[in-house]
Symmetry: C3
Subunit: 220 residues, 3 copies
């Protein structure tokens, strides 16, 4: 939290989420994404350590990618609770993989919650660090989707987010709403909640209706 | 451009390219590389979003890798025009992939232009940030080739630049020439132009003659 | 060394390794890891440039990943000797790959030495930059294992460290020991040596006894 508070203090931008709420959201999102990474590792028959690492990478990658673009230290290295959260996610994935893997939809719903939270936080942190508006929307999306991209790369698969499903679009909607609210100076806790809810609903509709974006070469 | 101008102001190094020219070159290079990434995505049957993202990643990755090594914010997050350029590149790739994919050589020529521009800019920006001379030459090359490397990784292929063709060598020639000019204090617009032209010519000769570096185990 | 010395000067943390010793250790570790990367490239039939690049990436990646998390410039870009070391490693791999590839165990021993040195240095540098204690232990491990991870990714293989063998655990032991010594204020050259030796011994025992961590789905 030190880094978040420090970055807030250092910033002339006033955003509505205070450091305490943000870190709580961050920890929840990291845990949920961590479980998704850990389970992917279990399915690929990684060893105990591999499962823990994959949980950690997926839970932390979104923030790490964003912070690397922003040229600031990764938030997680200053907050042990985030690290503990992804470690616990890995442990849970390893120990309880059998019941968890039977719960297909519940896990996708948890992942959708993580996506919503990370997209909003990512845009918020980028704005605090004076990125451009367009960049903030994109970095919010990058915060949301990078964990999954790096999970797939480590398992040598073409990232799911590039291949199909409505995953990045709801993320971009959420981060875009934060940017619009910032530009209009109408950011409030309600505004953030609408952004989170929008992402969540669009993502869930995409999952249950199995919606996909068009491909350029569908006709082939 | 804010970041470029700021970084120039913060630097005691005087280089010849002013921020305005540099950003124009950067936008052109990002667009060209973006098209190369977008078309690779189309060929891999990614969906609309995947094509746009691949264009964005390939157009922005070179600069992002360099800036991460330099420990500075990625230039693109402060300049919306660069982001628009790679977005447009993705859109063009998606919409006009049929005629574009028929143009094999023209696209390779455009890619060679992007390589030349990025290699020179990469070395220049590294020198402004007081990297060592050797590091500046290498970071120039990294700026030029990283887009293609990350494109291939996202599509789970061993990066083309590692496997064959004269791709990194011309890039290194260009960035090396910038470093030599800097060390000799003879940098000028003409000097930069020679560096760009050297990279371009060597790359094009490599393409048309299908030149390759030796492999260690050719004899097997 | 400039960066290391500067970072030491800028820090209120007193650690025992001075910049001169650290850079010597860093150069040795980078060379050893570089050879491991170069030989992997030779076996994958990369061309001359690919072998050199793979040596460079594997030798430099650990530090680059750590420094990106810390939000500081990559140490190597300020020290040409590190770059020369990995370049030489690539050259040696390319030229002398036949005798080297016959030496299976000696190379694994060299790699274990690199792992031990990088893990200790990684934790030390993280502490100097005021990362949390837990984060320092993890960044030490990340410094040790990232070179191999990126080598495997570039060759499109699931990283070995995730699949089996005792590789990350000894690394984490070494970085953890540095953190404990730091917290207890008992860091000394002897303490560092114990950390290096612990990693080395556990890694070597793991190699020769072919030890593995359990998998979640061994029973399947």
């Amino acid at each position: 939290m030190a880094a978040l508070v420090a970055s807030t203090a250092a910033s002339s931008v006033t955003t509505i989420i205070d450091g305490r709420l943000m870190i709580a959201i961050f920890i929840c999102g990291a845990f949920v994404f961590g479980v998704s990474g850990g389970l992917a590792g279990v399915m690929k028959k990684l060893d105990f350590f591999g499962v823990i690492v994959l949980a950690g990478v997926v839970g932390l990658a979104g923030g790490a990618v964003r912070d690397s673009f922003l040229g600031i230290p990764a938030v997680a290295i200053f907050d042990w609770r985030v690290i503990v959260a992804v470690g616990a996610a890995g442990l849970v994935s390893f120990v309880a993989h059998e019941p968890l893997l039977r719960l297909h939809y519940p896990i996708q719903v948890l992942d959708a919650i993580g996506l919503s939270l990370f997209s909003v936080i990512g845009a918020d942190i980028s704005l605090r660090h004076h990125s451009g508006l367009l960049a903030a929307a994109l970095l919010g999306m990058a915060t949301g989707v990078s964990g999954g991209v790096i999970r797939d790369l480590l398992l040598t698969e073409v990232p799911q987010v590039l291949r199909g499903g409505l995953y990045a679009i709801p993320s971009l909607l959420a981060s875009g709403l934060v940017v619009v609210g910032f530009a209009l100076k109408t950011l409030s806790l309600a505004w953030y909640s609408v952004a989170v809810a929008t992402c969540l609903v669009v993502r869930l509709v995409g999952i249950f209706l199995d919606l996909n974006l068009p491909q350029a070469r569908d006709e082939d």
